[in-house]
């Protein structure tokens, strides 16, 4: 064997090794960071390793990308009655406009992997994009004469997609509202017990149903602690026994709160059900369908969404650029992260769950806020339900949904729906208690947001004033 042959062998070996590494990265490894052409935006970094979620085809074109965008964001855009849907730009009369700014496709304004150019809301084009279609706005509305085009989307003015709380008639209709409503309460949660959706069984420790060999899987101290937390919990009250969550016996029967039934039975254990030591979100979803569905849509749960083309490991705070507490950085997010393993107290989850990880200014100032003081009074029974404001009150607000033909109030677990731009919070959150004008001013004040609304808004947003002025102008003859 000559030296030339040796070189050929080395070359062949190196090529095979490189190709194997590449194939492993593409097809098997969760960590595909070596393939990234740039860091994904704050809205997508969670799923950037699930490349196929957006790059649905090897040679994805505009329509493929658009389908991927709509697949996740379409529902929300429909909910807010998107001001600039694709269908507004498909008419040939707008061909000259789409040539400059092709608003038919999301990626025109929201290009991914361009971290150095990405602005708020994932915007990757200059902020004065409104000028392309609305350059003559001052002729129609003299109040807009000296306003810069890069300020159209400033807080309290306009959004490209969601103007549901910013359109003129809405501003006029809600003008002159007080800072705080006379009765400032959040939507009541329907008493699901009174509707008969959940049995009122109040199980106690003596009602526990466990495998006979439970001691082999958990030490007695931990078992006692878990049982103690469970007794008196919402689950125990509703008749949800240990095996309802800790076994696979209900796996094939996806239930909702409305038709949950207690099916724990020793005979079923003996009939071959498998003990699940640590039930995950899939177990929770058997009954809490709406909560898990919205959880998958939000930032916390999107990595483990069953709808993700390539499911990933649970989200950890260390993956984010936001400030988090040091001891939480490697905590994997799941239902139990906020709700605990056995107590499932929603009150604790609504504040403690968030503050155990989040460490930004807004979060750290929460416990010094009026909102928190009200929340404490609600918890202690000093004020009626709905009077307090927890983290979840604003970031996972109560939504009215239709369940079996009846309106119900449920807590969404998708914080994206009402997060940014923050005007999205005005109607479902702020206006539950506050007047529109105050809400607009407060949400436009970055300092006030950082200190968790301690004090008054520093500036007044004139949107409502302008709307009233226009509404009252004399009609042309």
């Amino acid at each position: 064997m000559t030296i030339k042959h040796y070189f050929w062998c080395i070359w062949l070996l190196a090529t095979i090794t490189l190709l194997s590494c590449l194939a492993y990265t593409i097809f098997l490894s969760e960590d595909k960071s070596v393939l990234l052409i740039g860091k994904a935006s704050h809205g997508h970094y969670q799923i950037e390793m699930s490349c196929v979620s957006c790059h649905t085809d090897s040679f994805s074109g505009e329509e493929d990308f658009q389908s991927a965008c709509v697949n996740c964001h379409g529902k929300e855009l429909k909910l807010v009655d998107d001001t600039h849907p694709k269908r507004k730009f498909t008419d040939p009369r707008n061909a000259d406009r789409t040539k400059i700014l092709d608003a038919r496709y999301c990626v025109t304004c929201h290009t991914e992997h361009q971290a150095e150019y990405t602005l708020g809301m994932g915007l990757t084009i200059p902020q004065d994009f409104c000028i392309h279609c609305h350059q003559d706005i001052a002729e129609e509305r003299p109040s807009h004469k000296d306003i810069e085009y890069n300020s159209c989307a400033n807080a309290g003015c306009h959004n490209f997609h969601d103007n549901s709380s910013l359109y003129q008639d809405f501003l006029v209709r809600h003008a002159n509202e007080p800072v705080l409503n006379a009765i400032a309460r959040l939507s009541d949660m329907k008493d699901i017990k009174s509707k008969g959706y959940v049995p009122d069984m109040n199980l106690s420790l003596s009602d526990q149903i466990l495998p006979l060999d439970i001691e082999a899987t958990i030490d007695s101290l931990s078992l006692a602690k878990a049982a103690h937390e469970w007794e008196g919990s919402a689950h125990a009250n509703a008749g949800i026994n240990c095996l309802d969550c800790h076994s696979n016996q209900n796996e094939d029967s996806k239930k909702t709160e409305a038709d949950s039934q207690v099916i724990s039975d020793l005979d079923q254990i003996k009939s071959g059900s498998t003990w699940i030591a640590k039930p995950d979100h899939l177990v929770c979803s058997r009954c809490h369908e709406y909560q898990t569905e919205t959880y998958y849509e939000g930032k916390h749960g999107m990595r483990i969404s069953p709808y993700l083309q390539l499911p990933l490991s649970p989200l950890r705070p260390s993956m984010s650029d936001l400030p988090f507490k040091a001891d939480s950085l490697n905590r994997e997010h799941g239902c139990n992260t906020c709700h605990g393993a056995h107590g499932y107290e929603t009150e604790e989850a609504a504040v403690g769950g968030c503050l155990s990880c989040h460490d930004d200014d807004h979060s750290t100032h929460y416990k010094g806020s009026i909102h928190f003081a009200l929340w404490q009074k609600e918890i202690s029974g000093e004020l009626p339900p709905g009077s307090g404001v927890s983290c979840a009150s604003c970031h996972m607000p109560r939504e009215e949904i239709i369940h079996k033909g009846e309106k119900m109030v449920q807590v969404t677990h998708n914080q994206n729906t009402y997060f940014q731009p923050n005007e999205k919070m005005i109607r479902p959150v702020c206006m539950q208690c506050h007047g529109l004008s105050f809400a607009l001013d407060a949400l436009a004040d970055k300092t006030l947001i950082e200190n968790n609304f301690k004090g008054k808004p520093a500036h007044h947003i004139p949107s409502i004033d302008w709307a009233i002025k226009r509404d009252q102008k004399p009609r042309k003859e």
């Binding site: 040939p92 061909a95 809405f170």
Partner: protein, 188 residues
């Protein structure tokens, strides 16, 4: 040989006839006229049979409103209903598009933009009862463009436009042309 030439020529002429690729199908004007007939019938019916009968002028059971989604028992105004149809069609069909426009639009985005639209809208107002037909190039595609008059069929149409804060005109009268329906068909 002479006979062969005659036979060959006859065969050639015959085959040319077989290969006649003259396009058969509906003329663009018939197509757009037919589309408009359906659109206009639905538009007039919605205005007179639903909005007028069940809205503020009728039983009051429903509330036609510009922001109908924010109003209890709210339903779209006739112009919004028409536009909703155009948008739905654009999501499912690319063989034609249509829109409702006016020289005096409440929403300035519904003012004519292309030369054909400007000329067409002016034509149907200056020539009551007549339609306007032309061809235009937009985005590298040639379109057959037809403009039809949109007439005020109900007091509600006139009253709303005359009173709306964003309306550039306040003296519309019933049976007057308030705008036009622009239908475009791409020519291949």
């Amino acid at each position: 040989m002479k006979n062969f030439g005659i036979v060959f020529s006859a065969l050639l002429i015959f085959l040319q006839g077989c290969g006649d690729n003259k396009q058969v199908g509906i003329e663009p004007q018939v197509y757009t006229d037919s589309l408009f007939a359906v659109m206009n019938a639905d538009r007039v019916n919605y205005t007179t049979l639903v909005v007028k009968r069940l809205g503020a002028e009728g039983t009051g059971a429903i509330k036609p409103d510009e922001h109908w989604k924010d109003v209890e028992n709210g339903i779209p105004l006739p112009a919004q209903m028409f536009r909703a149809g155009a948008e739905r069609v654009s999501e499912t069909n690319d063989s034609f598009t249509y829109s409702l426009q006016s020289l005096w639009p409440i929403n300035s985005q519904n003012a004519p933009r292309t030369d054909a639209e400007k000329e067409g809208l002016k034509f149907i107002i200056d020539n009551p009862g007549k339609n306007f037909y032309t061809e235009e190039d937009l985005g590298g595609v040639t379109y057959y463009t037809a403009v039809y008059p949109d007439v005020a069929v109900s007091v509600a149409c006139v009253a709303c436009h005359n009173a709306h804060n964003d309306s550039p005109r306040t003296d519309f009268k019933i049976d007057e042309v308030m705008g036009g329906v622009v239908i475009r068909v791409p020519l291949k």
